[in-house]
Symmetry: C2
Subunit: 135 residues, 2 copies
């Protein structure tokens, strides 16, 4: 199993309004998309850097998982997402290797991707996402 | 200023011996190098995934910054490193934009790179590294 490349890195922020100009300066890039993911109660902003996107994630409700993350750990690196082919198969494969899954089945994420999260208790504290773009 | 691509993502782990086989299974890749960085009192293991490396980092001494990170926050995502051209210039530029620097001058990191860290207090809680490969 080879995920191929890092699709994006998710960063939890309190305010996109503050974070976007900072990241535009630091990365020398323009934010190319802002999208709400209502399922996760977040608003996301994207930058593209080579193969990989930076996804800034702001909670839009106190019950959002991102609001809870920020409350517990502060702003910062939240997750890493690997592009895979055959997402359902990859999930079964990871599970058969003893990895706990947060999402046993793919669901819809930002940018039209099918996504699923692995549990950080199985991956040395790293919240990992597998994602697949279905054309 | 455009860093170009994400050179690597650093992940703090307690034990490379446990983490390497897990990441080899999960990523479907072989660890291609293990290196000690005595300056930081760490041992690092590298995987290559497209343009970006995954760097697992184990502290080899309780006074290592990575030991302190794990003690405070547990294992997990530690930093994100951007490949840049003209590292010293990029550092001055970031500083002039109001970013605090951990390293005002480049120093030697793993894999022969010149590296410098920015302070997470200036970057929404994300520990960022700029790095440059000098041939």
């Amino acid at each position: 199993m080879n995920p191929g490349f890092i699709e994006h890195i998710g960063i939890a922020v309190k305010s996109l309004e503050q974070a976007i100009p900072l990241y535009e300066k630091l990365l020398g890039l323009k934010c190319y998309a802002i999208e709400e993911v209502l399922d996760q109660k977040v608003k996301t902003a994207f930058f593209k850097l080579g193969q990989t996107k930076i996804e800034l994630i702001e909670p839009i409700d106190v019950t959002s998982p991102i609001a809870k993350f920020i409350e517990k750990r502060g702003e910062g690196l939240h997750h890493i997402a690997f592009a895979v082919d055959g997402l359902e198969h990859k999930l079964s494969e990871a599970e058969s290797q003893g990895v706990s899954l947060i999402d046993k089945k793919p669901r819809k994420g930002a940018e039209g991707l099918d996504i699923a999260f692995l549990h950080p208790s199985s991956t040395m504290g790293v919240l990992m996402e597998f994602c697949e773009k279905k054309e």
